[in-house]
Symmetry: C2
Subunit: 345 residues, 2 copies
Amino acid sequence: MGEHAKSVVLAARPAGKPHPSDFRIEEGPVPEPGPGRFLARTIWLSLDPYMRGRMDDARSYAPAAEVGGAMPGECVAEVVASRHPDWRPGEIVVGPLGWTTHAVSDGTGMRRVDPAVAPVSTALGVLGMPGHAAWVGLNEIAGARAGETIVVSAATGAVGSVVGQLARLQGLTAIGVAGGPEKCAWAEAELGYAACLDHSAAPDAAALAAEIAAAAPGGVDVYYDNVGGKTLEAVLPAMNPHGRVALCGTIAWHSGQGVAEAMPLPLAWRAILTRRLTVRGFIVFDHAASLPRFLAEMAPLVKSGKVVWRESIAEGLEAAPEAFLRLLDGGNFGKQLVRVGPEPR
Amino acid sequence: MGEHAKSVVLAARPAGKPHPSDFRIEEGPVPEPGPGRFLARTIWLSLDPYMRGRMDDARSYAPAAEVGGAMPGECVAEVVASRHPDWRPGEIVVGPLGWTTHAVSDGTGMRRVDPAVAPVSTALGVLGMPGHAAWVGLNEIAGARAGETIVVSAATGAVGSVVGQLARLQGLTAIGVAGGPEKCAWAEAELGYAACLDHSAAPDAAALAAEIAAAAPGGVDVYYDNVGGKTLEAVLPAMNPHGRVALCGTIAWHSGQGVAEAMPLPLAWRAILTRRLTVRGFIVFDHAASLPRFLAEMAPLVKSGKVVWRESIAEGLEAAPEAFLRLLDGGNFGKQLVRVGPEPR
């Protein structure tokens, strides 16, 4: 740690696929916390697909990032100075500090992390927003029930890896879809997926659909959709009557990719109608009220090793843009993190 | 009535848009009811958009019509002979007899119609399957609540006209979308729509979207979708967060029409995600259990004139194919019926 703070700011709004030049590193003095605020030093920065949406100037569920402003994001950080009565130096916290080495906070959106439960980085993954999204989508959005069959796309990602494990623990048969044999092997060996299909090996949606039909001979009751794209197209024909789609992300179409080749809306709409499907979009940030309940349920599963996780780590804040661009194209394996600073001894 | 029975059979599966030559009239002797069966003489045949799907050899929620077999459909009929203890000659019944002048039934799917409540033709409309679909979609599928704003497509059709009236009676603001100034005028004057927008006057979805935004300045909470197409595309941008889409039909895309020009699936999927919408497809035939509850609620509204209806009547079974083809293109005004035989004196 020097005496300077660094941030990654949005240099330009991407037209289509983002490039490294859309980001810029800015340096400045480490900020001082005013009254009722504390200074946090970032240890881990989380990179998540939703950040792509924030780079656009489009109406969405959250305000866009501003050009010239720090990229938004969740961090695990150490409180290093405090003028806030509730937050003490040395505490490990998690919350929306942004892509930055240091940030001043009034505590909004922040919570403490207990290092005794698991490595603190898990507060950004299996015990954080992605894990919570998995739990909410599976239980509250899809209403998954024991005995059902679920398909999970991005099956080894930060969200999908938790969906698969929770589904199996809850008595569902989970079928994963992931990119590449290495991910699929891990999904089957460690995450409890009954099968994991490699979409990168399927020449088209029809080929993937045939694999799904073979892996789920009784049909699919729940589809946990993290990606849209070819996988969505392949799953819809396998959906059972009254099936549910929990729609968590559309990363396959990020930055307008694949939009022209996507299946026609009328075919999807017709499938929703004739199969009487329920498709429900959700944003985990709407579900803050259930976070304590999720953590109470999940922490023992993580601590006991019943739920496992995996991380892709980029080294140093400067590496964040490249790591984010890789994430958008599925180059991560498990939860994508950036190591911004050292863990406290 | 002569001594012959007539039926309209499916002569050929249409490739794309159906033609009159896809249907054929067949004549034969009036059938005799065997033991446990009765003979019914059709008075009214109902024409409904779902019948287009039955003409295709595609997996759907119901078996396809067979080539050379009678077209499926609901009729109001008079029992004229019976060897079934529960059904007596002279009774008026409604049920799935098909496009035919005479049919033998064992009572499956049939119910009695009380001519004292309303004209018996309403058992195929406001007091039948279309009215039930309106009620189910509004209440059970969309969970519409007083104070909300609903958009209804095919707003003056057999289903939409009931949705609009029930929505208004339940304290919603209803905005209709229909084809042509005459339909829109009726929708506003008689059905209680706060506004009705003429999609045929809007050059494209964006123009219709602007009209919807102006008619619903507080946004749209519920979309009752009977059509898909341009109207769906125009409504999605106006949907409020956590809005619901009750998906009842996709007639705008019947026979593959407009599929190539439809909005891309990724845009719709993205709207469902970022607005956290729930899109739920449903088929009224799944909801038979609630039919008595619906009828108990609806019959007094019809009898007292609080709910009105309108019928388009084609004369004679031979006119059914042309009337059906007109219906697919929105040529009906209100519930489309075929007068197959006289009402009893």
